[in-house]
Amino acid sequence: MKEDRLLFIFFPALIAAFIVTALVIEGGAAFTGFLRLQLQPARLINDFFMTAGIAAALMNSAAVGLVGFIIITATKTRLSGPTFAAIFTMMGFGLFGKTPLNILPIIAGVFLASRYALKTFKEYIIIALFGTALGPLVSAIAFELGLPAVFAIPAGIAGGLVAGFFLPALAVSILNLHQGYNLYNMGMTCGFFSLFAAALIKAGGHQLAADSYWYSEPSSFLPFVIPVISALMIIIGLLSGPGKSLRSFVKIQSKDGRLPSDFIDMTSAAGAFINSGMIGIIGSAYILMIGGDFNGPIIGGLLTIMGFAAFGTHLKNSWPVVAGVITAALIFRMPLTSPGVQLAAIFCTTLSPIAGQFGILPGLIAGFLHMLMVSQTGSWQGAMNLYNNGFSGGLTAAFIVAVVQWYRSNRKDNKFK
């Protein structure tokens, strides 16, 4: 199919562009930086731009994206909404937490679970790809607990295998808790798992330091990364047939976005490309407008929401949630440029389906509650789950869904006369 070919060309090109950019910035040093990066802690917030350098981080992002792309290709899984979102998300978090070394044990753990459950790995591939949010757990066991060098990496790998093995069971249960209204379901799943992992680590007498590395140097290059990718995506979308792609883009805006809303399947890849590009440009414009930082977490966050622009997020269902986050930040006097608020304003779009299904006011409330919750959940889970906003978003979605369900089921018009 033509659309499949477009996606199978686009992702290798994007990955290659990251590698070329890294090599242009630092030459061969980018590769040595990338190798060093594999052996360092990765818990939130660990901006690889700051701890390893921009070139090494870009190289790592490309490598993590390549792992995802190879797995999708090897399992003959269709490149569509969820896999589109997964590769973008993996590349995004390759800038602040995921490394090939810390994600592979988790993927292997999910593979073992699929064997145990007598399923094909393909049936769990989405869980495996997004489950890499627990990469920092592997790095924490290997490099932060002070284990003897000979045991450290095997222990980290074992931890990743165990985590990956339990993810499918948890993911399915948690999906039913919020009923698909939290797009980053694996965020809540991994957060739930991390609660237990963090408790176990603390019970063993280890304290996980709450260090935060946030790159905030001004740059004439970094603010253009996302707008350039976004503009190219819009152009590709338009070139695929202007009339059809624009109609698809408009049609996407009418979808509620609830999981699983595969916009590529529901409309077209071209429409999803335009939606993704628009989300990237507007997200970048917001960060620029508030004077925010273009660093690993922010660029990674923008890549993530661009990915989910093919799998649940669009302009119409995301703005109320973002407005809710900004409102909460202003009311509680949290600076819009603080790392947590910047990230929440981007990742809160995990709750877009609430605005998409129930309307603007519930969307605003969801964003407001999310901002309050997300500032707490990171410490609960030991900062080992990279999708902390997905964890908080899941709790918020479960709360709202329960209230709406209770309200609707007790309306007078539901009763028999």
Binding site: T77, R78, P82, T83, K119, T120, K122, E123, Y124, I125, I126, I127, P168, A171, V172, L175, N176, Q179, G180, D256, R258, L259, P260, D262, D265, Q357, V401, V404, Q405, R408
Partner: protein, 126 residues
């Protein structure tokens, strides 16, 4: 998932869809075999041609094991939003939607790898 659970979730999702049209009658019929089953739902509510066309499209969508194995677990459990026929479409072998007297009849065929459609009345592929 046990077969009993799978069947009850499928019935829950499709009956949720049918009940959205507020029918006065709904009939559910199930025929099980070792390696497959035939589920039939009938109602007496009016349905437009466009709706039936969309139903056929959703219920006979391309098989998506990567979605069915994960998001398919929501089938028949989430009753808050609109029912979603694509969740069913990813999991069944074949579906037919036909007009009957006043309403429609929806036929599902499900089965394992050894599924023998001849035991049922699944239409031959043209």
């Amino acid at each position: 998932m046990r077969r009993k659970d799978l069947i009850s979730h499928l019935i829950n999702e499709i009956s949720n869809y049918v009940l959205e049209s507020d029918p006065m009658r709904m009939v559910i019929s199930l025929h099980q075999e070792e390696d497959g089953l035939h589920l039939s739902i009938m109602d007496d509510a009016p349905h437009s041609d466009e709706e039936i066309e969309q139903m056929v499209k959703d219920l006979n969508s391309q098989k998506r094991p990567e979605l069915a194995g994960y998001y398919g677990s929501m089938t028949g459990r989430d009753l808050l939003g609109a029912s979603r026929l694509n969740l069913l479409g990813w999991q069944v072998k074949h579906t037919d939607v036909n007009r009957i007297d006043k309403g429609i009849k929806i036929d599902f065929w499900l089965g394992g790898d050894r599924f023998d459609s001849k035991q049922f009345t699944i239409p031959e592929k043209e």
